[in-house]
Amino acid sequence: MNTLSRPLLSMLLAVFFVFAAAPDSQAAKQIGVILTGDVPYYRAMHETFVAELHKRFTGAEKIEIIVQKPFPDPISWSNAARKLIAFDVDLIVSYGSPATQAVLQEKSNIPILYVGLYEPDQAVVTGKNVTGCGFKLPLSSIIRYFRHLKPVNTLGIVFTSAEEDSVRQYKTMAALAAQQNIKTEKIDIGSYADLSKLKTGNTDAVFITGSSLAHLWLKDIVSILKKRRIPTADIFPDDEESGGLINLFHPPLPQGKMAAEMAAQILLNKKIDSIPPYTSRDTELVYNLVEARQLGITIPIDQLIEASRVIK
């Protein structure tokens, strides 16, 4: 190869790399998403988020969405956050508290939009480049509905000590139960082996917090409890029909829409600190009559009429 062809080859290679990288650089806006454990509830929010965002950017700038689905543990959340920061995305969208905490710990300058956060005003998610939407849920209603169905002397609470929002839900529920002289039993799920904790104890009913880990194994959790004829209540919807008796949850669609609205504003260069966080209080209540029958529980008619939906 002569002296002239070498620089020419180098130039050709450089041009090739530029063109190879072009699809990414042409994507005017990139959004990085952390969807913990592909939990169906967060997935439903995300699907609405994507659909709504595309509606807002039809024919305009191209939006590229990079999705990370880490396993619900601190190292995986941290790795997912670091990857998105390395991609230098324009916005990071994180579903739930632990994913949001992981991104915040990395201290990047990328704007962060949290979605589906339980009581955001109680979570430590502050910063000049952070905003988002979450929900409040009256956990006291779950105790009330349980007590309408059967006497509850001991309430089991399934949570994960590594998940900040799940711990807060555990503490809130334990305090509410104490006010009503109901004992509580901690069921900390940190690994699949911990499901064996459900096979013992004297719980009359079990409340399942918004733990991502618990929701990965929801069918197994409900199945173990069903064998012991223990009813469950969950604050996520049971879209995959795992068999919970009561689901009291914030509907995912409005949350996805609100997130898309906020993301669109950020991508259109509105200052993130001028977009106030939003907390929704809307809820839906679902009773599973099939499960009630199998558990030998009769749901009174005046309670059934309160439901947004009844699974028959």
């Binding site: 009256p138 209603s141 009330r144």
Partner: protein, 304 residues
């Protein structure tokens, strides 16, 4: 003499005949004007649990049938529109009506309010509450802007007329614009549960249901704040058609007011979940008309 006495006799005879006709007409008149039914069909407005409600009223209907010698039959109605329709078509002789419906029935159909049951707390009146969750940060009418409100039914004083009148007094006429959403729950208890669960931010309901739920579950009181209360008005009133035989009306009133004086009556009252009945009067409902005046503009605005 006979020539003079004959016309006089004829005159006297005609006078007596006339008097007899007049007398018999006069005696017969009330019979034609007032109906003597063989059956009394009494309507009931539905509560939260209609099965429990029907059971309670069945005991009362059976007792009234025995005491009056007239079969008392119950029928459950859907709402105000049906009450009016059925009274007009004379398919209803009376009805146990909530305050707003009773007020409209008295005004539009000239129904006669005859008695009110006194509940187990010793009250025969109720009032409307406007309430929110304690952790909602809603404390004034201004804080309610852009929130979701739940009413009970357009035919209720406590669950609709009162909140509208209250909002109007605070300068809110167009609830379509002021709230992001307004719904009707269909029952007082459902309104309360909707606010407790977060399905609505502001709710309206009658105090008797509110207090009863708290009695059964005291934790509810810790979660809700009452922001406004309406005046007290008879909660349930037995109203009957004015055309019903006056004697039967009087007998019905008497049976109801004397129920707590006999062992049998007290047993039925216990099953009916009341202490006694008290006499009702039309003036009790004047305050509803005042509220309706206040709420009229708001109702016209959103068409309910």
């Amino acid at each position: 003499m006979s020539r003079h006495s004959f016309p006089a006799f004829r005159f006297l005879q005609r006078l007596v005949a006339c008097l007899l006709i007049c007398l018999s007409t006069a005696i017969a008149l009330p019979v034609f004007a007032a109906e003597q039914p063989t059956e009394l069909l009494i309507g009931i407005e539905p509560e939260h649990n209609i099965f429990d409600q029907m059971q309670r009223y069945r005991y009362l209907a059976s007792y009234l049938s025995d005491q009056l010698g007239v079969k008392v039959t119950l029928t459950i109605m859907s709402r105000y529109g049906e009450v009016i329709k059925r009274f007009k078509s004379r398919k209803l002789d009376g009805a146990f009506l909530t305050s707003y419906t009773a007020s409209m029935g008295i005004k539009d159909l000239n129904l006669e309010p005859i008695a009110n049951p006194v509940n187990l707390n010793g009250e025969f009146t109720s009032q409307g509450y406007l309430f929110v969750r304690k952790d909602s940060e809603i404390r004034t009418v201004q804080d309610m802007a852009g929130k979701r409100i739940i009413f009970v039914d357009p035919a209720t004083m406590e669950g609709y007329l009162f909140p509208l009148a209250y909002l109007e007094q605070h300068g809110i006429r167009n609830i379509n614009k002021f709230f992001t959403r307004f719904d009707f729950s269909g029952s007082d208890a459902s309104s309360i549960f909707a606010v407790l669960d977060g399905r609505a931010d502001i709710g309206s309901a009658k105090n008797t249901v509110f207090n009863n739920l708290i009695h059964n579950d005291p934790s509810i009181r810790q979660e809700l704040d009452i922001l406004a209360q309406s005046p007290r008005i008879p909660e349930i009133t037995l109203c009957i058609r004015n055309e019903i035989d006056l004697y039967l009306q009087a007998k019905l009133v008497n049976v109801l007011l004397q129920m707590d004086k006999t062992a049998q009556g007290r047993k039925v009252l216990e099953q009916f979940k009341a202490l006694r009945f008290v006499k009702s009067k039309k003036t009790d409902f004047a305050v509803i008309e005042e509220m309706a005046q206040d709420a009229r503009a708001a109702i016209a605005e959103h068409g309910k």
